[in-house]
Amino acid sequence: MEAPIRATGILGFTLFSLLFFVCRSSPLHNLFISNAERRIDVTSHIVKVYLTLKVENAGTTPTSEVLLAFPPTQVDHLATVEALVTKGKRKKTTLVRLDVKPTELPDAPNGAKYFTIYLANPLNSGESTTLEVLYLFTHSLEPFPAEIGQSESQLVHYRDSALILSPYHIKQQTTFIKTPSTKVESFTRVEPTNRAGTEIKYGPYEDRPPYSFSPILVHFENNSPFPVVEELVREVEISHWGNLQVTEQYTLVHGGARHKGVFSRVDYQSRPTLSGASSLQHLLARLPPRVHSVYYRDEIGNISSSHLRTDSRKSELEIEPRYPLFGGWKATFVIGYGLPLQDFLFESSDDRRYLNFTFGCPLLETVVDKLTVKVVLPEGSKDPSAVVPFPVDQHLETKYSYLDVVGRTVVVMEKKNLVPVQNSHFQVYYTFKPIFMLAEPLMLASAFFLFFVACVAYLHIDLSIRK
């Protein structure tokens, strides 16, 4: 029970820093937030937070940067931050995506981390704008009790602050927490707080100074399985003969409350709703359309429990692990499929080729702790460069595949803590001369030719010592 202590620590420090910051003036305080509404969705194991901020510039100079602050404990679990701004009036509103980048501030209180939203148009003094911010947390629902039996339902803790942590003054704010069911064991009250159905409402709170913090703890039932891919290696192999082969190696774990004691198949089969309610029974993978030669196996052979549905827009692969995964149970498997190359490989204007492919994990509602994407370029391709919409670790490798001589260049990209929302596309550019496609067939042909020549020679040369 370390977390509550940490939370109170944060509380203490924030109170202290609060006093500290009130007496200090900062250029940040040119902005203030006139209205903030936060909706926290904890129905699945990925916590989705929709934050609507109405930002006003009370200062004298125009500014184009808005800061978001997160406590350090949340930043570790933060998977993605996106910000949108509404453009246009009334009916013709369109949403425009804004740049969001992590920022370091030298005087951050208690290790708070910041993200800067770069506005498209600078906010002049006296003007206001409405920002829609979405951010996702992974591993933020802590099972409590940490171990449950087969027939018990899974209860989790969610920790946050009733007040939005912000470097700005917030005039009015409300927070809603949406739970998966009405079964809520307890929740911290920070008046005014009320609960209606599956929603807990904190607020409205008026006129809170910057860095206000008020820790809350919600203890509720969440019986959805917590599929977590501890490690995923996606290998995309380009063959210029017209095929794109994708191989994905998963290490899957149920990240919910650990299973304790007995697993009884009788109970599991006869009372599926009561017993093993939070067990992970199947997963859905959304694959590109026109997928072919799909396989689903692990190190000991094919896993027969899968279904593939294809239509013209998408393919859906429903897979079941070999056994239902209870909390803490693991499974590894491999999904592989082929795709027509023309859907993904294009020629850019400067005579280079580029692959356009999705970055993330095709499994829905799944958190990936560590993702490695490997793009295996055809033998003989040069100058690879990758364009990824978010920061990743990159390096190059060489792989030897069917009858390679010089080896294939592999672009390796690594990213940690990934959620399905981030399944955006990335591009890998490279140059390739089509003559290299013929290298291997020619090599084979010449090898056979030499073999036959050797045979003919052997048959025509008399090697015997005696005449």
């Binding site: 009884s264 198949r265 000991i300 052979g301 590894t332 069917y402």
Partner: protein, 787 residues
Amino acid sequence: MAAPETSTAAVPTLYTNNTLRNAFGGVLSFFILLLIGVMAFSIRLFSVIKYESVIHEFDPYFNYRVTQFLAKNGIYEFWNWFDDRTWYPLGRVIGGTVYPGLTLTAGTIWWLLNSLNIPLSVETVCVFTAPIFSAFASWATFLLTKEVKGTGAGLTAAALLAMVPSYISRSVAGSYDNEAVAIFALIFTFYLYIKTLNTGSLFYATLNSIAYFYMVCSWGGYTFIINLIPMHVLLCIVTGRFSSRLYIAYAPLVVLGTLLAALVPVVGFNAVMTSEHFASFLVFIILHVVAFVYYIKGILSPKMFKVAVTLVVSVGLAVCCAVIAVLIALVASSPTKGWSGRSLSLLDPTYASKYIPIIASVSEHQPPTWPSYFMDINVLAFLVPAGIIACFSPLSDSSSFVVLYIATSVYFSGVMVRLMLVFAPAACITSGIALSQSFDVFTRSIKFQLPGISSSMEVDAVETSSATAEAQNDAVKTEKSEETSKNRPSKKSKKKEKEKEEKPSTKAKAEKRLLALPLDSSVIFLLLLILLGAFYVVHCVWAAAEAYSAPSIVLTSRSHDGLHVFDDFREAYGWLRHNTDVDDKVASWWDYGYQTTAMANRTVIVDNNTWNNTHIATVGTAMSSPEKAAWEIFHSLDVKYVLVVFGGLVGYPSDDINKFLWMVRIGGGVFPHIKEPDYLRDGQYRIDSQATPTMLNCLMYKLSYYRFVETDGKGFDRVRQTEIGKKYFKLTHFEEVFTTHHWMVRIYKLKPPKNRIRGKTKKSKSKTSSASSRGKRSGTGKKNPWQ
């Protein structure tokens, strides 16, 4: 056989005609062989197409695991590999106790492919090793039969072997077992022996020793070779067919072969120490004596020779008696008379069931039934006698070998169903000879009676040219052997006889014309033969597709709503692999040992390499003991999980309850407090309400049927077709941790030992004693073997 009309008239045209025909026949037989290889490979792929590319059954999983180790760690690590994952806490020296041929073969193939940058996995290579080697085996059969009876017989025999069900059963894709390469090695060794015997070439003799070495590496069945070849040599000597070629064929094999065999760690000094090999040494001595006698006979005058014979015989007899006495004393001093249990059960079929229940418990060590002969070799069973007759006309060294081979292998296959595999090639060779000879006879009679089509008969040159090819072979042979053996008058005369038979073809042909059968009957017989062959092909394809392709770790059943897959074994092994600690020990009956180590990567107590009877008996005892005693045994073995296979829910017949009597027998063989009659009611094995209390309280019963009654309310066992005897009970020392989807594998965890609480000891003691009073009673005076 188109030659006879023109042979006397125009010799030069005949010559050119013949070379052309030979070239044509050579190319044709090359392509036929190629197709036979393709067929041998592809008929074994039903398992991959119908199921998946996966390793089958039990032993192949061990071989697969060893190959994986070899591919990962290299050959030196492999020889020194001490495996601590099996036979806990004893472990097993894998490098020294395994026949490495198969593993090294697959490992080499894998290494070769990977160094050519063809990234096949070890599993893929292992799966396809057996089909590849069956193609090789059919080519070896061609070579062997060609040496015996010519090309036509060779091709027929190769085609028959490529699809003989008996061999398919052990070499479908995925059946990665020693036999897969051993049959090829066996046939190839025999071929090289015959080849050496026919040519007298030391080159082939050396190759023969190397082939024998490969066979020794691959399979324990090499003792068959090292006993069969001496038998044949002895037969040749006794029938007065001794020649220098025989000497060259045999002596290097024994010397080189034994030296090479001793290099294989698992054989080692057994190559000279055990009785299985003594026959070869005895014949080796006899051969030398005979050779010496022939030599002396050659240099002495007949009179002197007689004197020498009397001298030598008297001295030699004395020496022989002394040597034999020493040998017998040596052999008699060992308890099993120097024979291993399996070999003894070959000589005395009732031996195993009397003394070694472990050998008797394996289904493939049982004697076969008549239907299994028909299933495994089908129409060959009818062709074999005809083939044997064909071998006798004329009887040569090589055909006498085939006769001897088939006679011995028929006996062995009658003792052990597993050795049907050795019998199958012999059956294919003799049937190939029979088929080809009868085709020969019928087509010749047809041709004789239809002289007009003789020119168009070239089309079926393969079948008909066999006789000519053979004649030419013999001609070549005689030329060669005349050079090599000039000092052998008796042999020369024999050769001359042969030449008399073969060479003056006109005479022979004149005779053959007289032997021609009536046209209509020969046509009918030909059609019948083709029908017979077609029947064989249909049967083989059926056997390959339906009977022998199931990998046995995945089961399927067809019902009205489509195909249903039972993948419970891998479900359980997968669960063990990912959700137990890496050092946990899993106890199960030994059948599942190899699979558990290979698929679940967990340490097992016993496995399919049944080398330690006591250890297996301990597990058997635990399974047949009541819960508390079993817990104590398992706990002392550091076991954490117990795995049982239970087929009662879905009707899977080869489950642990059906194997249970063997556990009792093997356990009782070492620990006498386990008595088989305690588990039988009036001599009947039953698990219903009439079962004995010992049966209903033993661990195996409890683990199999724990909470089984809750599935249907009655506890109806679909394998035994009865309601179970004891329906509601609780487990006190074990807890269920996993049961697969169809209940076929159930895994239990040993409960941790209870804490001793000072005040409560008395109470808990009385409780446990009352709970397991029955168990105590049955186990009075027993001792836990591991304490």
